[in-house]
């Protein structure tokens, strides 16, 4: 792992890309890591493409500029896969892409003619619809990120997210989100 580990989240307004980056950031900060979590601000409207970012390190982080060469790209909406934005600055050999998709990484590669990168998929929207009765792929995608990166122990992460969500949401919603994280963690394809 290089000194500072960087993640770029691609979502649409309303899918929770910003919240995902913040939840991840907060959980890692509680574990003593140095983290930045920040969204890219443009006109804020539902459905518009949005990006958010995480910078993660064991030592204090100096840089406050945007992230141009992420280690991992997380895609909350699979329709983005045809957009060059997704692959920008990502290393073809070492770079990892985690996609919210019901397809396998191989099927996705074929469909979007993707060459290179390490691809992972998980049906986060499916999991969310089943458990939360809504399309909120951000929390299950966090489970997939935990699985692919091993940034944190899953149980520690679930505890941290549960604590955070409890501030705002009813117990059954919190439980649903945690269940979705666990399911996605187990169902990641491409490992």
């Amino acid at each position: 792992m290089k000194k500072v580990f960087e993640i770029r989240w691609h979502g649409r307004g309303g899918l929770g890309a910003k919240t995902a980056a913040l939840l991840l950031g907060e959980a890692l900060i509680q574990k003593g890591k140095y983290v930045q979590a920040f969204p890219e601000y443009g006109p804020e409207r539902r459905g518009a493409p949005v990006k958010s970012y995480n910078r993660i390190s064991d030592t204090p982080i100096n840089v406050h500029s945007g992230i141009t060469n992420p280690d991992i790209v997380v895609v909350l909406d699979p329709s983005f896969m045809s957009s060059p934005d997704i692959y920008q600055g990502l290393d073809r050999e070492k770079g990892k892409i985690i996609v919210n998709s019901e397809l396998t990484p191989e099927e996705l590669r074929e469909k979007f003619k993707i060459d290179g990168y390490n691809m992972y998929t998980v049906n986060a929207s499916g999991i969310s619809r089943e458990i939360l009765k809504r399309n909120l792929p951000n929390t299950p995608m966090l489970g997939a990120v935990m699985r692919v990166t091993g940034l944190m122990d899953l149980e520690d992460f679930i505890e941290a997210v549960g604590k955070r969500l409890s501030v705002k949401f009813k117990p059954e919603i919190v439980e649903g989100n945690l269940k979705a994280i666990r399911r996605a963690y187990e169902e990641v394809k491409g490992l």
């Binding site: 980056a21 920040f38 969204p39 601000y41 100096n62 840089v63 406050h64 500029s65």
Partner: protein
């Protein structure tokens, strides 16, 4: 005396950190009006008020001009007073900023740097606070959320000891909306450190009636202004004193006027303010690896202008660059550049000084941009001086 403190670290955005500090300060009065990107400060603080977590009299005014006016009134009545704003909001306060400082009212303002219109923009540059640089306020520029949080306590103590208002700034969105770890100081310790405000005079002390802000024409205005100038000079002693006290009390290491980085044997250096400074330090590390004698000097306090301290760092420098996140719009580059260059003029040994204006309207500033600046400086140090002293970095020309 160093105090043992168990560390409590929270994940907060810059705005949340500001609001948290304000909660711990628990001011007597907060009068504020929301504006992007400082809206959350007022929003979160008003929730603290509604939830009874502070005893503050919260005045939700109808404009920033009224916000600062209400602050002036409350502070003159002896209250501990705070407000928050950004950009156009600070511009609308402009008139009253001068009143606050001339009446020697220690109001503390949590500021978020955002470009002034037009064109309309919500992102970071320093044109807003640079616009109030001659308003007689202390200005502390923070690099990150944790520093902004701590700086509010420091600013309050300086303000109340020197009887001069103070604003703390952070870069809009980059810091205000970015989440970072912030080490929270214990409530009790903060209270202990800040104590109570002990105003010299108040308009509510009927036993000792005073007049505040009367007409002051050709007979005495100049003397009163002269006194204010002297008070600001005194503040230059109060600033390091309060930093020392703060660092000892909380076991911290907060720099006062400047934060030097690898400056000991540096021949080339860059001065910067705010969040881009860490990016500059990364570039310093890259170039030090290659054996270049480069360093970075972050200016934390711009008002009052720390020229005495500045000169302590420039003795060995061949080339110095000042990075400005604002332009004076007067064909002479940015404000920090002009002051730095001017205050080195009468030294026997002085570096060649260049200006790089960057990041206007939130344009991102990368390590590559900092490396580009150093590259120019290294060339200049070898005698390849540029034809223009002022360069705009990261702009399409």
């Amino acid at each position: 005396m160093t105090t043992e403190i168990r560390k409590k670290v929270l994940a907060l955005t810059g705005n949340e950190a500001y609001a948290y500090a304000m909660k711990q300060i628990n001011p007597d009065v907060v009068a504020a009006y929301p504006i992007t990107p400082a809206t959350e400060i007022v929003q979160i603080f008003s929730k603290y008020v509604a939830d009874g977590e502070v005893d503050t009299e919260f005045v939700p005014v109808e404009s920033e001009h009224s916000a600062m006016s209400a602050c002036v009134g409350a502070s003159a009545a002896g209250a501990r007073v705070m407000t928050a704003t950004a950009s156009q909001g600070l511009a609308l306060m402009h008139e009253v900023l001068y009143v606050a400082s001339a009446l020697r009212l220690p109001i503390v303002l949590a500021e978020v740097n955002r470009a002034l219109s037009a064109p309309i923009n919500i992102h970071c540059d320093h044109s807003d606070t640079m616009g109030s640089r001659d308003a007689g306020w202390i200005q502390i520029y923070s690099e990150n959320a944790d520093e902004a949080y701590q700086s509010l306590f420091i600013a309050l103590k300086i303000a109340e000891r020197a009887n001069i208002p103070a604003m703390v700034t952070m870069d809009g969105f980059i810091v205000s909306h970015g989440m970072e770890p912030v080490e929270i100081l214990p409530d009790e310790k903060v209270r202990q450190f800040l104590g109570e405000r002990k105003p010299l005079y108040t308009i509510l002390d009927v036993e000792h009636p005073i007049t505040i802000g009367p007409l002051d024409l050709t007979d005495y205005f100049f003397e009163h202004k002269r006194g204010q100038i002297e008070a600001i000079k005194e503040a230059k002693k109060v600033i390091p004193e309060v930093h020392r006290e703060y660092n000892e009390f909380f076991g911290k290491n907060m720099p006062d006027f400047f934060e030097p980085y690898r400056m000991e044997d540096a021949e080339i250096a860059v001065i910067s303010l705010g969040s881009a400074s860490g990016t500059v330090r990364e570039a310093v590390d890259v170039l030090r690896e290659k054996g270049e004698k480069v360093g970075a000097l972050r200016m934390r306090i711009f008002r009052p202008f720390p020229y005495e301290k500045l000169r302590e760092y420039t003795g060995n420098l061949k080339v110095l660059s000042v990075m400005d996140r604002a332009d004076s719009l007067a064909t002479i580059g940015g404000p920090v550049f002009n002051e730095v260059r001017s205050w080195l003029y009468d030294l026997e040994r002085r570096p060649f000084v260049m200006n790089f204006v960057y990041g206007l309207g939130g344009r991102d500033f990368f390590v590559e941009d900092a490396l580009y600046i150093f590259e120019k400086l290294i060339k200049a140090a070898k005698g390849e001086r540029p034809s223009e002293l002022i360069e705009y970095v990261g702009v399409r020309e």
